[in-house]
Point group: C2
Chain length 207, copies 2
């Protein structure tokens, strides 16, 4: 895996900003080659351009199939020699053309301690369930939603007076810390997958 | 809720010991009136007797129905004026006679961060799933397995070289801390249930 990132967004891309900042301040040794949004109005596009990063929209509308859309993404990513694809609020299911082109090289961040509260609205689900801790999961992307090997998790305490927004805000702060760290782990390449487990090098999971 | 506990066990009752120790050292203001095992050979019975606590076996065999067994438990608990029922490795599903007799007054401890990894073998499930954090959940017991309102959760980091036994050991240490603490919270009575949420007094969960 080279150190060239492609970032996929659909909205403001606050985790994109976390990656930009981590690179800028030397906490992450990587380059963002391109930011791609499926929506023209994603404010993250402007965020990228302001950081001097190429930012393009590839709308998900108008394709004959979802696979065709995915193939268009792969074309743009490969053209720029992207080695690791970072999802940052990309609100599209990743299909097999993209998964096949980037095996174990697509990463996402989710605002809960997976496997609890997969899918949308994870923070509200956690609050409604009454958990006392939630958090952040950075994981490799597979065909199953929010189900790939877990690279890193960070814990956020749930407070009695939390509302979904206050909990989401605190979780987001941890996302901004966790995501660049996990991307750095991936790029360092000293890891392997055993079963579902993401393990660092020179450790064994002998059972 | 008075401060008289009844503890139900099926085995060694290490969480029973944690309650005994917490009471002995003044960290938990409570009395254990009786320890009941469904198995004659549970070593926790001897543990209780050594601490001067009445310990009896009520086998789950030989009853006409599961409800009859549960009613027998209720009789023994009520006879001793038990206010809070603590499960400590009690390997029986709690049925409606016991649930109805002790509404929001039966507590259990589970070796995972629920709702992840309910049911048996939670530590191995967590390891196989590849989570980076697991932990302990103390919760009120309802008719659904491992699903009642969560009183307290404590986090345990999962290490790359963990085996199910090493993870279970570290989680057990946290159980021994969490369980007496949660029982103390319950006995203090400054709490309420909102939806599924267990909330401390003088906090509001305004949404």
């Amino acid at each position: 895996m080279n150190r060239i990132l492609g970032v996929l967004i659909s909205g403001r891309g606050s985790n994109l900003q976390a990656l930009i900042d981590a690179i800028k301040h030397g906490r992450l040794d990587a380059t963002i080659a391109v930011v791609i949004s499926n929506r023209e109005d994603a404010s993250g596009l402007e965020r990228a351009r302001q950081a001097g990063i190429e930012a393009i929209c590839i709308s998900h509308h108008g394709w004959l199939s979802r696979d065709d859309y995915d193939r268009a993404l792969v074309d743009e990513l490969r053209r720029r020699n992207v080695g690791l694809v970072c999802l940052a609020g990309f609100m599209r299911v990743v299909g097999s053309p993209l998964l096949d082109a980037y095996p174990n090289a697509i990463v996402n961040v989710h605002p809960s301690l997976l496997p609890s509260f997969a899918g949308v609205d994870a923070q509200r689900k956690a609050l409604d369930h009454g958990v006392k801790v939630s958090g952040v999961t950075v994981h490799l992307v597979t065909a199953e939603l929010d189900d790939g090997p877990i690279i890193l998790q960070r814990v956020v305490r749930v407070l009695d007076d939390d509302r979904p927004e206050t909990l989401a805000d605190r979780i987001l702060q941890e996302e901004h810390l966790a995501y660049p760290t996990a991307v750095g782990l991936l790029l360092d390449g000293e890891w392997r997958i055993e079963g579902r487990r993401f393990l660092r090098a020179r450790t064994s999971a002998a059972r």
